[in-house]
Amino acid sequence: MDAILSFRDIGKQFYGNRVLSGVSFDVAAGQIIGLVGENGAGKSTLMKILFSMPEIHETGGYEGSILWNGSEVKFKTPFDALDAGIGMVHQEFSLIPGFTTTENILLNRESLHRSVLTDIFSTRISMLDRENMALRSKKAIAKLGVTLDPNMLIKEMPVGHKQFTEIARELCRDKVKLIVLDEPSAVLTESEAEVLLSSLRLLANEGIAIIFISHRLREIVDLCDQIVVLRDGQKISELPAKGSSVKTIASLMVGRSVETQGQTDVADTYMNYGSSEPIALSVEQLWVDMPGETVRNVAFSVRKGEIFGIGGLAGQGKLGIPNGIMGLSPSGGNVKLHGKPMQLGSPYAALKRGLAFVSEDRRGVGLLLDEGIDWNIAFSAMQIQNKFLKPLLGGLFQWRSDREMLNLANEYIKLLEIKCTGARQRVGNLSGGNQQKVCLAKAFALRPDILFVSEPTRGIDVGAKLVVLETLKKYNSEYGATIIMISSELEELRSICKRIAIVYEGRIEGILPHTAPLDEFGVLMAGAKSETQQGGRSEN
């Protein structure tokens, strides 16, 4: 089989940050390639390079070459790639809700009746040839081997049909040879996913190559011919799907080597860490309605003074846990703080009870970009705990003390080494790492008993990373505060937490001591454990 698409030594760095290096593999006609890897392993960057997305050009292009049908290509825009015969189905639906299936499949590629007006004004003044459009869309749907009503409106469709419409849209291009599917089954029910997989097999039999990106390793193993595993921007392995097990792939994804880092303590001691300490926070039956990070049923408890880690792949729900408990997303369940039940759904109540949260969405939730550092740090403490306020006229008015706020800000600037021109500098002008430090300072200013830290090192440089992690440790040891850290980076969790819970599909898949071998984490993250223990899960 000749390769229709080959990647040759693809590399890419963003602002000196290497995200891909030396990735090469081939895709042959009619072949289904499964592309797997953790978040940040470089899957989406690779696809962006293939489609020549603007952000790739804007950040200085890429290294290596892409061969399409045997000759090197460099597409200028995504539309060039589409014209060449490469289709892409994105994770989010890219459909017009008020249009029918046919209209969506043929969006901007409608069949037209030509007329005199066409020449005078533009081709866009031509009438649509509805009959021909219906014909073309039927043909495309037929290729998928499913039944779709061509005249149904997208907004009235079940999710699965939307996904098929998207794929049909790519198939409808005249000479499509390759389709990239990014997490196509994430929103589907299992039966819908089953239908999708058989449609994809049908397509492959017709000679269309498919690159299939998924976190559902079971599907990968079932569907694909060949599996490419990426880790930290490098191709770790390429193996035939036949004969591979979910577990092998999972451990390839997270790294095979079991680094003990000189800590050979028995796992049990960590699992029973500080068993003499009282339980600070216990969570049962927690559900959180956070878009893209749904939590379905989570239970765990954390002891006083512990640093507890929560990990898992993106979209599995780990971020939903702190957002739900802190009242930022609609949530429910039993959460007890020092044994007393806590009111969910109110950020005020949570903060008042001594919880604090460093959000993963720094710029959106964490900061007032238009205000100074002093405001950002002191604001929550002022509003919740009436700090930095001077009562006037016997407490009738609460006057803001700008001087105290400034002092506090200066203190934290020194403590956390925030690089700035002064405590009044606009936070929007700080670098990502310094913004993160401001977020931490904001939480520390509240002196919380329990601190949620979500993705504290995402998108910041190495130096800042160290300071952030050290500060967290120090805060934990000095004030005996409980810290719950949520992170996508397993290594980071293992370096600071004693126990790490892994979230998969909105549930806690398992809790491991930080010394547990990496492949055990990998299995949990890929949900492989529950797939082998289906029975046990449903008793939940």
Binding site: S94, L95, G98, L107, N108, E190, G292, N297, G332, N540
Partner: protein
């Protein structure tokens, strides 16, 4: 039963106004023939303006408060033919041809500015109309007679430049209405007006079926998806506004030839308000409007317009209260439509977020064992 309820909810505005009129028309004690004559005339002169609002709504740009720009262009056309002394239907056609390039330029300007203020097209259009009014006054009160030569000195103020406050359109007055005379039971029917409105209706229907119309609908529903599919959303939106502006210009010409005079500086001011209020009273919303909405709206709005003062006098003893009530309705119905629209939008945002839940809340963490 459920269908009936849905029907009532969807047409609540229209039904409210019909009920209101059912009370007001008998109370006004105006003769039926008079009302019928007036409504037929007003339908003939105002519908075109209202129909000009349809395309921007389809393109997701809301109510085109910038249509006033088109009205200004139409007036400029009429001013020129009055100056040159071109009469009758050729005069009207010439006025339309003159207004065409002006409308296109103004529409392009309006569309480009609205593209810079995506998400607040309506308030931008509303302010733009005021701003252009200033520019128009500069043209009418200072440029005419100084920069632009005026042949017919009767149009000018005695100071030698600037247009008079009122321009008499004697040369083209009601030439459409009288072109095909038809009188049924003592009521004059402006046949040609209706033919023109039918033509623009057919144009709108046809346009919706073209590629352009399809692109406009796509851009109106989801800008991001449309532009990802390669549709140049910005250009499409500008085009929608240009067509709307051109039609508004023609509409204003038809409107003013019936009225017979131009108030140089403020004939266009109420155009937008009345057209938009009519459309909304006809049951349209900020995101959805049709030709029946426009026609029903014109009839209901103008009936209210006609009977309100007399009904007010007979019901509460003051014609002014009826008049003020009518004015309140013009503004109030727009306020109501905007509130309903934003309300729905906020609710929809919540609903679309809820859709991402993946059914969490109901089963509270029960495992999906499918």
């Amino acid at each position: 039963m459920k269908k009936l309820r849905l029907f009532l909810i969807e047409n609540s505005v229209v039904i409210t106004f019909i009920v209101l009129l059912a009370i007001a028309i008998p109370a006004s004690k105006l003769p039926g023939q008079f009302l019928l004559q007036e409504i037929l005339t007003r339908l003939g002169r105002s519908s075109f303006l209202v129909i000009s609002l349809l395309l921007p709504i389809m393109a997701g740009m809301g109510l085109n408060f910038g249509m006033v720009l088109g009205a200004m262009a139409g007036q400029i056309g009429l001013i020129f033919i009055s100056d040159w002394g071109v009469i009758g239907i050729p005069g009207l056609l010439l006025a339309m041809i003159i207004s065409l390039p002006i409308s296109v330029i103004l529409g392009w300007l309006c569309g480009s500015i609205m593209n810079k203020a995506k998400g607040r097209e309506m308030v931008t259009g509303y302010i733009l109309a005021f701003f252009m009014n200033g520019v128009y006054m500069l043209f009418a009160l200072y440029a005419m007679g100084i920069i632009i030569p005026v042949l017919n000195l009767e149009l000018l103020l005695s100071r030698g430049f600037g247009l008079r406050n009122v321009i008499d359109l004697i040369n083209v007055r009601q030439c459409l209405e009288t072109f095909i005379p038809l009188k049924i039971a003592g009521v004059n029917i402006p046949v040609l007006n209706y033919l023109i409105i039918a033509a623009v209706g057919i144009f709108i229907v046809w346009f919706r079926k073209t590629k352009f119309g399809q692109d406009m609908r796509a851009a109106g529903q989801d800008r991001a998806v449309a532009s990802a599919a390669g549709i140049s959303v910005d250009r499409t939106r500008i085009f929608a506004i240009i067509i709307s502006t051109v039609l508004a210009g023609f509409g204003q010409i038809i409107f003013l030839q019936n009225m017979g005079t131009i108030n140089t500086t403020n004939s266009h001011e109420q155009t937008g308000l009345f057209a938009i209020a009519s459309l909304l009273i006809g049951g349209a919303s900020v995101t959805k409007a049709s030709i029946p909405n426009a026609l029903i709206g014109v009839i209901l709005f103008h009936l209210l317009f006609l009977v309100a003062p007399m009904a007010g006098k007979n019901l509460v003893g003051s014609a002014m209260i009826g008049e003020y009530f009518r004015q309140f309705v013009s503004y109030g119905v727009i306020a109501l439509a905007l509130v309903l629209y934003e309300w729905k939008r906020v609710a929809q945002e919540d609903a679309s977020r809820a859709m991402l839940r993946g059914g969490v809340a109901p089963d509270k963490g029960k495992v999906n064992t499918l």
